[in-house]
Amino acid sequence: MESSPADGGELSDLPRRGPGIAALRHFLVEVPVSENMMHTLTFFPLGNANTCRIDLANGRKLLIDYAATRDADNPQRIDLPAELRRDLAEARRTSYDVVAFTHLDDDHIRGSSDFFRFEHAPKYQGAGRVDIDELWVPAAAITEVGSDGDARVIRQEARHRLLQGAGIRVFSRPARLKEWLNANGLTLESRIHCIVDAGQLVPSFDLPRDSVEFFVHSPFAERQNENDVEVRNCDAVAFQARFTAGGRDTRLLMLSDLPCDDIAAMVRVTRAYRNEDRLEWDVCGLPHHCSYLSLGPEKGVTIVKPLPDVAFLYEKKGRRGSTLISSSDPIRNEETTQPPHFQAANYYKAAVQGHGGEFIVTMEHQTPSIPVPLVVHIDALGARVQKRLGGAPGVITSRPAPRAG
């Protein structure tokens, strides 16, 4: 009775039955809705730490931060280097077009010196390391003193590339950057092509070619010159990426670890320059692992009361059906010193529900017991969080099994 899936292929007059099993197996492969165009964002479950990979429809790859935080105490975190290497191998690549370190705190850079190839020292050039075609760092990453570990390696690499004048974008130009360049026998003008200021588009990408553009929000001038000492969180790189696919544009806002005062200032500056559309977001990587300090000065009992400019960003600039992503540990409904703070989560949930969206925590996705990378597809219908019900073999084989006794 049941006939083949081809039954009635184009028989416009035939009642059709559901997709065949063969067709349903195709569910394992996401099919872009139109124009064969789909960008993908991947947020990795790494505890209170950030890594996001952006795969553009044209094949270019960007990595925003790198934090290999999996260890014996935290086996539920993803094995980031293994995951990234698998993806590169599938794409037959050995490099990223861009690796951005939004700032040099451990939860955004951990293990970088073991994973990437760095040009400044042979020690970091062994076989199997991953190349960085273009490095993005805030100016503070060049000028800070007293760094150690991964932060020092990245600083040295950034300095090396800036001296070479190639393969790097430095975000903002505080006086200290000019001083550093002068001290190294260079002028700011001679390296101006490597510098991108807040309020500008990053020239490495443009809409017609890449279907994406990156608008830099932070670090911005309002706080640049008052700075005697770099404060990493405040000087972090924040940006809005605008993707186009099938005639729709979809906006990703990445806020790194910015505290509330800086977000408020960012909102004010952007509005003052009449760039309000650059604050809009369909997907937002919310700041600082859901810390209340990125919303307002007070934690509150059940919910944080955000600064008015911050509230404006989340409540007025989130677009319909948007997604707020907390790169953090699961939200526990109890008082904690370290983020994530449930009071902040309560605010974010309420804000995003206001425009029919979702609040998602990386370490809770899809289930807290086995978190998997959070994949967001961007196509003509906007952003869509991939949700795989089932597929146990894929989940199980994507990570080591628990030790057998």
Binding site: G9, P15, G18, L24, L389, A392
Partner: protein, 743 residues
């Protein structure tokens, strides 16, 4: 929740569940390991377990259908677990249009998701509670994205589950008013198939179908099956279709026009068919028909009586003068049928995934290979044919022929044509001509001139040469033939403009046999016969059908492939002992011809380039060698396929060349062996270091020597002189031959 419909059944406890699937669904949901799905409640109705869940689909920001996060879903598993579980959406305003839904039973308020294309027996092999839930989630996610249908399939949202399939003539779509047509019941109890009867249908027709078209609508009309005639009437009212009046009038006409009506009316069971043209929007042209049909659970006689138009008085049906308008078929139950249309060439093309145009083809030779290539192509929707063959089917043909035994003794052209025609219910145009194409019958030639491409699948290269040289105004020709072992299929394909024809392609194919190691042993004859190349293309007697089937499959595909572009081609497919098939393509070069009195010399650009290279290698000396090719004595054509380099005992000097002979005979013998005698010696070539290709006095003596000796075989003497810029060709004369319009 007010926005939700009450699920089937009434609340129950986990322990009340009776089915394996129902219980395991509840179990897996209770232990909470599945993301995106929550158990809401379990219920029982008199015949089934009901598990109610909420499921979170993956929604895009701009969904194309109003799917929500989450959706409440009831899964109903019958106690018998003998059919696919029903999956109902519980939201009151769950969208109905454009989604892939089953047509609900009468009275069912829930949208029934159509999840599977397979039968329950297939589904249950791999069904797990989690896979069922995943399927529901995917259904929701994909519906929200609008890509539940495979690309390019029209959206036909409603699915009619019915055990009985009704096969309708495709013309129903175009006919505005169909006369009642008879339907015979085929199939078995397990799978009843009703088929619109052929005029001479042998089975007694048990059903009579009444087909109607309604006026167009933008709405999907059928969401629930009506249970009875009254329900159907109500459903059709919004379309302005007066069911009762229309049926009364149809039945009256039938009674008045049919001779044995009184007897037949006792037997016929009425089937109602409705085609509803669907519009995408008001004012647009109808895009497609939604077709649905019902069997009325009574006889035509009783139907008329229930509609109040006649009475039966002592066995005679008598029309009543004024029908009782209150008799509207109350209580006549309907059985939904699953209507499908009989096959058309368009459907065949679509189902074959063939998006090419609709080409007309000529088929010359419908033997083992030809008949099967024709059938393969006809099945994939090639529907306009001219079939030419003068042979009749004999018993030994059945081993490797598309035709059945009942065709023994009949001309292969006619029977293959009929067989191809019978694949679709309509739309095939086959012209069968019992003739030998070589005889040049104008009727045959004119028919072949009308097609888009001619497939030469005859058993002889003579046909290919005739098509190439004797038939002007023909479309491009494609030769398909097997090697003597039946392991290799050869396709020689003329370009769309016929600049490179089959005869020239044949020579380049022979050259490929000499030069391409992938073609080793291609023309080896299993019986060791010398067959003069492929002049006789019949295969040996001991080749199994499966080998022909492989070749015919590739051949059909090759025709589809080659006709999509205008390039000429030579390709050989070889099946090895492991049954792997490898394709060897050969580059094709433009033909060059020279006219020499009543002779024509034919070569190609590769050969001229080859001569130039051999000349260049020996500069400043002259060099030369022999030419290998083929004489077509009928058409006075000399084909040069290959030129050999100077034998080692030759003398090469700036002012002269003495062609030696060491190893030459062995070489020639090898060429004859590899080409199975098709190629042999045709003449000599030598080079001049300068630009001049004028023959010297010595050259004149060479030519005279050649003419004298070749005359013993009835062949002319041929000599080619290669200069710096070009080559000159001489046949029995020191006057150079005249190039024919070049390439």
């Amino acid at each position: 929740m007010k926005s939700l419909l009450e699920p089937p059944g009434s609340p129950a406890e986990h322990a009340d569940l009776r089915t394996t699937l129902g219980r395991s669904l509840a179990d897996v949901l209770q232990n909470g390991i599945l993301p995106f799905v929550d158990l809401r409640e379990v219920r029982r109705d008199p015949m089934a377990d009901v598990v109610v869940v909420s499921i979170v689909p993956a929604l895009p920001q701009d969904p194309v259908a109003d799917i929500r996060r989450p959706e409440h879903i009831a899964i109903r598993v019958r106690d018998s677990e003998d059919r696919t579980p029903e999956v109902f959406a519980l939201r009151k305003d769950f969208p109905r249009n454009g989604l892939h839904l089953n047509v609900s039973d009468p009275g069912s308020p829930w949208a029934s998701l159509c999840l599977y294309d397979e039968g329950w027996q297939d589904i249950r092999l791999h069904l797990t509670p989690a896979s069922l839930l995943a399927q529901v989630q995917e259904w929701l996610s994909r519906s929200a994205r609008g890509d539940l249908h495979l690309p390019e399939q029209p959206v036909e949202p409603f699915v009619i589950p019915s055990a009985i399939t009704l096969v309708l003539p495709p013309s129903l779509v175009t006919d505005t008013a169909s006369a009642p047509f008879r339907i015979e019941s085929r199939g078995s109890d397990g799978q009843i198939v009703l088929v619109a009867a052929e005029a001479d249908g042998r089975r007694p027709p048990g059903h009579l179908a009444f087909a109607y078209r309604t006026r167009p609508t933008t709405q999907t009309t059928l969401r629930q099956h009506p249970a009875d005639l009254e329900g159907l009437d109500a459903m059709l009212q919004p379309l302005g279709f007066e069911l009762v009046q229309t049926l009364r009038s149809t039945l009256r006409d039938l009674k008045n026009s049919h001779q044995d009506f009184d007897v037949a009316a006792h037997e016929w069971r009425p089937v109602l068919v409705f085609a509803v043209p669907l519009l995408r929007e008001d004012g647009a042209a109808p895009e497609r028909d939604q077709v649905f049909s019902y069997s009325v659970d009574t006889t035509v006689l009783e139907l008329g009586r229930a509609l109040g138009i006649w009475d039966v008085i002592s066995g005679t049906v008598g029309l009543v003068l004024s029908p009782d308008d209150s008799a509207r078929g109350q209580g006549l139950r309907l059985l939904p049928l699953r209507p499908v249309f009989d096959l058309t060439p368009e459907m065949a093309r679509s189902l074959s995934g063939f998006r090419g145009g609709d080409l007309s083809l000529g088929a010359i030779g419908v033997g083992a290979l030809g008949s099967q290539v024709v059938m393969n192509l006809a099945r994939s929707g090639f529907c306009r044919w001219v079939v030419v063959d003068n042979d009749s089917l004999l018993p030994h043909n059945l081993v490797r022929h598309a035709l059945p035994r009942s065709a023994i003794g009949f001309p292969k052209a006619e029977t293959t044509g009929l067989f191809a025609e019978s694949i679709t219910s309509q739309g095939m145009e086959v012209r069968s001509l019992v003739a030998d194409v070589l005889e040049g019958d104008p009727k045959v030639d004119n028919a072949l001139r009308q097609v888009d491409a001619v497939l030469d699948m005859s058993a002889t290269a003579t046909v290919a040469r005739a098509l190439a040289q004797d038939r002007e105004g023909f479309p491009r020709c494609i030769s398909l033939f097997l090697n003597p072992m039946g392991t290799d299929l050869v396709a020689l394909v003329e370009d769309g403009e016929r600049r490179i024809r089959l005869d020239a392609l044949e020579m380049q194919y022979y050259r490929a046999l000499l030069r391409d190691p992938r073609l080793d042993g291609h023309l080896t004859d299993p019986l060791g016969r010398l067959r003069y190349g492929t002049s006789c293309r019949d295969v040996t007697m001991q080749i199994p059908q499966e080998q022909i089937a492989v070749a015919a499959g590739i051949g059909a595909r090759a025709v589809r492939m080659f006709t999509t572009n205008p390039d000429a081609g030579i390709r050989v497919w070889r099946m090895d002992a492991e049954l792997a098939v490898n394709a060897a393509s050969t580059d094709v070069f433009p033909t060059r011809e020279w006219g020499c009195g009543d002779w024509t010399v034919v070569a190609d650009e590769w050969l001229l380039e080859h001569l130039a290279e051999m000349r260049h290698d020996r500069l400043p000396s002259e060099t030369g060698g022999i030419l290998v090719g083929f004489h077509d004595m009928q058409r006075h054509r000399i084909y040069i396929a290959e030129a050999l380099a100077a034998p080692p005992d030759s003398t090469e000097r700036p002012v002269y060349f003495d062609r030696g002979c060491v190893g030459l005979r062995a070489h020639l013998a090898e060429i004859q062996r590899v080409t199975n005698g098709a190629l042999s010696y045709v003449g000599e070539w030598h080079s001049h270091p300068g630009t001049s290709t004028r023959p010297s006095t010595q050259d004149g003596q060479v030519l005279e020597f050649l003419s004298t000796h070749m005359a013993m075989d009835g062949h002319p003497g041929l000599m080619v002189i290669v200069g710096q810029d070009d080559a000159a060709v001489f046949v029995d004369s020191t006057e150079p031959c005249v190039p024919n319009g070049a390439c």
